[in-house]
């Protein structure tokens, strides 16, 4: 591991100032905020991340969960995943978020990992993690060996000819269906970014994964008021029953009245280069009877643009069945 400066700022403004000197907030950053450390220190040991300065934000007052005046929820950047998943309001009103978080990682890691860190979780693509290999995300322009190599776990939605790396987060998928807003404090002030605009498609710049700029500190995430009477499910399918990344996952929030779907928010995990909200599936659901053929049609719509690689075509059907089953489970709950 390369050595670094270690700074513990007294407040968020000082953290932003200390981070603003980095040339990028994306891959190759000189400065990184350190929260739980579960992604960053892992990648620093692999020399995939080589920051010259770490800014420890663990003691900033960013770990609260509070009700917002509009009836929504404000979730601090550094609250631990386990605390958020077990928060009574989250369990009652935003169950899909609690389920998604508890489906991820292990109990130990959830005690460390934070809201903001999870938003910025890096891909598990083996070529990204191995500095002996080319990788357009890690070293732009070097190529993507995954496209012709080992790609069984990688993305089928949102890929480009430069990168097919999957966003590995479960929490992000729930945040997508809950229409979360990411709040960022930066050198030019504060701003709010809808979750759907926060993560970027790889396109020709897979090294850019989010809209964050140098100095930008995620301070909190807000959720809109819960949808009354909604049914919420997170379903995760993977190679082993626990402590494994998703091959395919689905987060759904639906309301059903008189047998008809009246509201739907749908997102997929494990199959996209970013947390994959599907407006196509939502449009296919609303106004239709809540039954399996219609759920399957919605799943077909969600995967219509999927592009298989040499080893991962199975994920397209897996994701369809995952979403169909999640909708069925929600409708029957």
């Amino acid at each position: 591991m390369h050595t670094f400066e270690f700074i513990r700022p007294e407040d968020s403004a000082a953290a932003v100032t200390a981070a603003a000197q980095t040339k990028t907030a994306q891959q190759g950053a000189d400065v990184r905020f350190l929260a739980g450390g579960t992604t960053l220190l892992d990648l620093m040991k692999l020399n995939v991340e080589t920051p010259a300065r770490l800014i420890d934000i663990n003691r900033l007052p960013l770990a609260k969960v509070e009700a917002t005046p509009d009836g929504g929820l404000k979730i601090g950047a550094t609250i631990r995943n386990s605390d958020l998943a077990h928060h009574p309001t989250v369990q009652r009103d935003y169950a899909v978020l609690s389920q998604a978080i508890l489906a991820g990682a292990s109990a130990q890691l959830r005690n460390m990992a934070t809201t903001a860190g999870n938003l910025l979780q890096r891909t598990r693509c083996m070529y990204f993690r191995d500095t002996a290999m080319p990788c357009n995300k890690r070293e732009p322009g070097t190529g993507c060996p995954a496209i012709t190599g080992s790609n069984r776990t990688l993305a089928v939605l949102g890929t480009s000819e430069n990168c097919i790396a999957t966003n590995p987060s479960d929490m992000n998928v729930a945040m997508a269906v809950l229409e979360a807003t990411v709040h960022v404090q930066g050198p030019k002030g504060s701003r709010a970014v809808p979750i759907g605009e926060f993560h970027l498609l790889p396109g020709r710049t897979p090294q850019r994964e989010t809209v964050l700029e140098p100095g930008d500190l995620i301070t909190h995430v807000t959720l809109p008021p819960p949808i009354a009477g909604s049914k919420q499910v997170y379903l995760k399918l993977r190679d082993r029953a626990s402590y494994e990344f998703a091959l395919a996952s689905a987060a759904v929030v639906i309301t059903v009245a008189g047998g008809t779907v009246t509201w739907a928010r749908v997102a997929l995990g494990g199959v996209g280069t970013k947390p994959w909200r599907s407006p196509e599936a939502e449009a296919a659901l609303v106004g239709q009877m809540a039954n399996v053929p219609n759920f399957r049609s919605a799943a077909e719509a969600a995967l219509r643009g999927a592009k298989p690689q040499s080893e991962n075509a199975f994920k397209i059907e897996l994701a369809k069945r995952c979403l169909t089953h999640a909708l069925q489970t929600a409708a029957m709950s």
């Binding site: 513990r8 450390g37 300065r53 292990s106 626990s242």
Partner: protein, 210 residues
């Protein structure tokens, strides 16, 4: 390889930042930022820091490990795991994968279980660390240690301290009564010998008796 870790940043050298804690040079450079060692260094004179190897650029950190305050000098990069094992010489905590994938390094920080391999010692200045050595003694085993013995919850033993630290923490976490729920919450601890059935049995016995 980058020889100068500060390349591309301002002229704040690591040494300036961390060993000249509280100096006006560092404080003025980034208003409102204090190096992590500020509190320890300001509080403790050099002789108050524990004897240790002469590590260039080492920084002081104070950890309360198994109830005993440890004033230590560590390289910035030292993980909590390496600090416990190498600096404090408590080798009951094991290094398996060193990437948060196996759970052998599980310790408690302020009563909660974490992977000590994915945490820097410096992040825990002033915090309470419990390792397997802090649970019980050979003559007075913690009930979980005794249950692992009684149920043969290991074969080679390498993962055992992590398993037991996880299991003890689990007793205070939300967990349903069934084996399946214990297995789910213990999934972060891998046992290559496959002692899982006996590990679950040991944990369930302790839970029934609590």
């Amino acid at each position: 390889m980058r020889d100068d870790p500060q390349a591309g940043l301002s002229n704040l050298s690591r040494r300036t930042f961390l060993s000249a804690a509280g100096s006006s040079a560092a404080a003025a450079a980034i208003a409102g930022c204090a190096p992590t060692s500020n509190r320890s260094a300001a509080r403790g004179s050099p002789e108050a820091v524990a004897e240790g190897p002469n590590i260039e650029g080492a920084v002081p950190v104070t950890l309360r490990i198994n109830g005993k305050e440890q004033r230590l000098l560590v390289d910035l990069r030292t993980t909590l795991l390496d600090c416990v094992r190498e600096t404090v010489a408590l080798t009951g905590t094991k290094k398996g994968c060193d990437h948060g994938q196996c759970g052998a390094c599980t310790v408690h920080v302020n009563g909660r279980r974490v992977n000590s391999c994915l945490s820097l010692a410096l992040m825990h200045d002033g915090e309470e660390i419990t390792t397997i050595e802090g649970l019980g003694t050979p003559d007075a085993l913690h009930p979980m240690q005794a249950a692992f013995v009684a149920f043969d919850g290991y074969q080679c033993g390498y993962c055992t301290s992590g398993q037991i630290m996880s299991a003890v923490a689990l007793l205070k976490e939300p967990c349903g009564p069934d084996d399946a729920e214990v297995k789910e919450l213990m999934s972060g601890n891998i046992c290559r010998c496959g002692a899982y059935p006996n590990i679950v049995a040991a944990i369930q016995q302790v839970r029934r008796n609590v």
